[in-house]
């Protein structure tokens, strides 16, 4: 661990200083902030609350080739990303890096997923602490925090005209070494300012949920009508899952253009009827009630039952972008009320 700083106007030098790495950072396209590979430092924007699209796409692209082949031939050409492809993700929020560690548990469960794991293994995560969390952020309720270091290799704090950069892991130190021409040693002043910012940010978080008991009790509400209060207005658009940093479900399809073909996987969503539809026409989750129940139960009960961690990082995206204001915290609070009522009458 080492403490550094650099002047804000040196951000461009910092990006170009990372010459041994491919650099990914938040970029603005109109009002939308999304992570992209940066070739020109001017593309980078670190002045953002959180990206609209989570950086899960850097480990798990929206569509990716698993292997290629020629139709009519029996040779398969795997398209696995190299673990030696060194990448830096600059400016990732602590919640989104925590999401990587959650999905990693599933992607290394007995069968290693080389596509996701090779990318993650080759990547150094240089985070950006949140100074101004969004109105629906609730990361402290699910094991994170606006300046959580746990899942990062290094963390930056925006201190006005300078960035304070603290390395956390060996990978983080390696990146700092590559930037020795840009970074200066930080002193106690920066450290203090960063700590104050982290404390202030934490106090700005307005929403929370006490998750104690939820994973154990949610399955008992399987047939409870409270789900319909939420699923009745769900449009089934799937945005809550597409923009969720821990949602990891995918479809696999073969695609051909003339004789050139590939097997690809692409983001899928449990909020679509086709997701669980059997070929026979039977659907175990025929309506939005079952699908809403599965989405919430998976994050807050099924996943923790298997992988000992809630599959939600409190980023607030599913709340912010739901077109009909379905709010995961409301659902969880209502589930607790419903469960308490059931327990009383039982």
């Amino acid at each position: 661990m080492a403490e550094h700083k650099f002047a804000k106007e040196k951000l461009g030098d910092l990006v170009s200083g990372l010459s041994g790495y491919r650099v990914f950072a938040p970029t603005a396209i109109g009002d939308v902030v999304r992570f992209a590979e940066v070739t020109d430092p001017a593309q980078v924007t670190l002045d953002y609350v959180n990206s609209n699209v989570p950086p899960k796409e850097l480990m798990f692209p929206e569509t990716e080739t698993l292997f290629r082949y020629r139709l009519g031939q029996d040779e398969i050409d795997a398209a696995v990303p190299s673990a030696d492809d060194k990448r830096v993700i600059l400016g990732i929020r602590p919640c989104d890096s925590q999401a990587y560690s959650i999905v990693e548990r599933l992607y290394s469960w007995d069968f290693n997923d080389p596509y996701f794991l090779n990318r993650l293994g080759g990547t150094t995560l240089v985070g950006l602490a949140c100074a101004d969390p969004c109105a629906n952020c609730f990361c402290p309720s699910v094991g994170g925090g606006p300046a959580s270091e746990e899942y990062l290799d290094a963390i930056m704090y925006d201190l006005g005209d300078t960035y304070y950069l603290k390395t956390i892991t060996d990978k983080g130190d390696e990146v700092a070494k590559a930037l020795s021409g840009v970074l200066e040693a930080a002193g106690g002043g920066e450290k203090k300012a960063a700590e104050k910012q982290a404390g202030d940010a934490l106090s700005k978080i307005q929403r929370s949920i006490d998750t104690a008991g939820i994973p154990e009790k949610l399955p008992s509400l399987y047939d409870h009508p409270f789900w319909e209060q939420f699923s009745d207005r769900c449009l089934g658009c799937g945005i809550c899952t597409y923009l969720c940093p821990t949602c990891h479900c995918f479809d696999i399809q073969d695609e051909c253009e003339a004789f050139d073909a590939r097997r690809a996987r692409m983001w899928d969503t449990c909020m679509f009827a086709e997701y669980s539809l059997h070929t026979s026409g039977h659907n175990p989750r025929p309506t939005r009630k079952e699908r809403t129940r599965n989405r919430i139960s998976h994050k807050y009960s099924y996943f923790p039952e298997k992988f000992e961690v809630i599959a939600c990082v409190g980023c607030g995206r599913c709340i912010n972008y739901c077109p009909v204001n379905i709010d995961i915290l409301d659902i969880l609070e209502k589930s607790k009320e419903a469960e308490a009522k059931e327990a009383k009458t039982a």
Partner: protein, 281 residues
């Protein structure tokens, strides 16, 4: 075994032989296949109940049970009911054509635990496919098990899979109880649904294990009737099926509650499922 460095890559297999088990719109075709790379056999091992993703390049892959027993060496068998895109494309294939196989995946029937017991299989339609390796495993290890009973129903006389094997079962002393849903001329066996056939045969739960595979509605009533006959949930096994894409517990869709059918299943004891309502959704 599965390519450990990349579990998404299938093996190429050649179809050595193929035939129809049943005719019609929902025909069932069996494929007997072998790896083009014979070295795969050095590391391949599967157990009764395990599955594989079977597919055709350019179309896709779906999950099927391996309907041959590991005691049948040198080939794998899959019995495929024509239903959707992948199964229709597989049905177009003939001997000499290539298919893809990715597996084995999933858990298996705990046949070692069942040694010394009476085994009853209760199948319906294509549900006999995962039961066939159980039956053949027991036939190949006959002295390790007590009585073996096969109970199997299909919609009509022509809809039973593996018809040619029933005589062999009977000759070996394995009682084979067959049924069809609606009466037909010249049908000498039971007429009615499989749960009713089960009550007609009325196997004793004494030192017994019942294994049932078939349509979900059949499984539901077979389990009810097994309980009426005195079978405890721990004595009842079944397999579940859900839509699957990856087969290795990543793509998400095959969960029933916290269990992934592709990885935690497809074999479950009723004891492990009875408190998971989604298992029978």
């Amino acid at each position: 075994m599965m390519d450990e460095s990349n579990p998404y890559l299938p093996y190429i297999v050649k179809i050595e032989d193929t035939w129809y088990e049943t005719p019609g719109d929902r025909a069932i075709k069996t494929f007997k296949v072998n790896f083009t790379d014979e070295k795969v056999w050095d590391t391949w091992s599967h157990r009764p109940g395990q599955c594989a993703m079977v597919g055709r390049l350019g179309v896709g892959e779906s999950m099927f049970c391996i309907s041959s027993s590991p005691t049948e060496r040198g080939y794998l068998r899959f019995s495929v009911l024509r239903m959707g895109k992948v199964t229709s494309a597989l049905h177009e294939l003939e001997a000499g054509d290539s298919m893809t196989v990715r597996g084995p995946v999933g858990n298996s029937f705990p046949l070692e635990e069942w040694e010394g017991k009476n085994i009853i299989t209760v199948g319906g339609g294509i549900g006999q496919a995962p039961l066939r390796p159980v039956i053949n495993y027991i036939r190949a290890n006959r002295d390790k098990y007590a009585d073996l009973k096969v109970i199997y129903g299909a919609r009509t006389m022509v809809d039973h899979c593996f018809k040619g094997e029933f005589d062999e079962y009977n000759q070996e002393g394995t009682a084979c109880h067959l049924s069809i849903d609606v009466d037909e001329e010249q049908w000498p066996h039971f007429v009615g649904f499989v749960p009713n056939l089960l009550m007609e045969v009325a196997p004793s739960p004494e030192s017994a294990i019942a294994v049932t595979c078939g349509p979900p509605v059949m499984i539901k009533f077979v389990i009810q009737n097994l309980e009426k006959l005195g079978f405890a949930p721990e004595q009842i096994y079944t397999t579940l099926e859900e839509r699957m894409k990856c087969g290795i517990g990543k793509c998400g869709r095959c969960n029933v509650g916290h269990l992934y059918v592709c990885k935690d299943g497809p074999v479950f004891s009723y004891a492990s499922l009875k408190d998971i309502p989604e298992a029978f959704a």
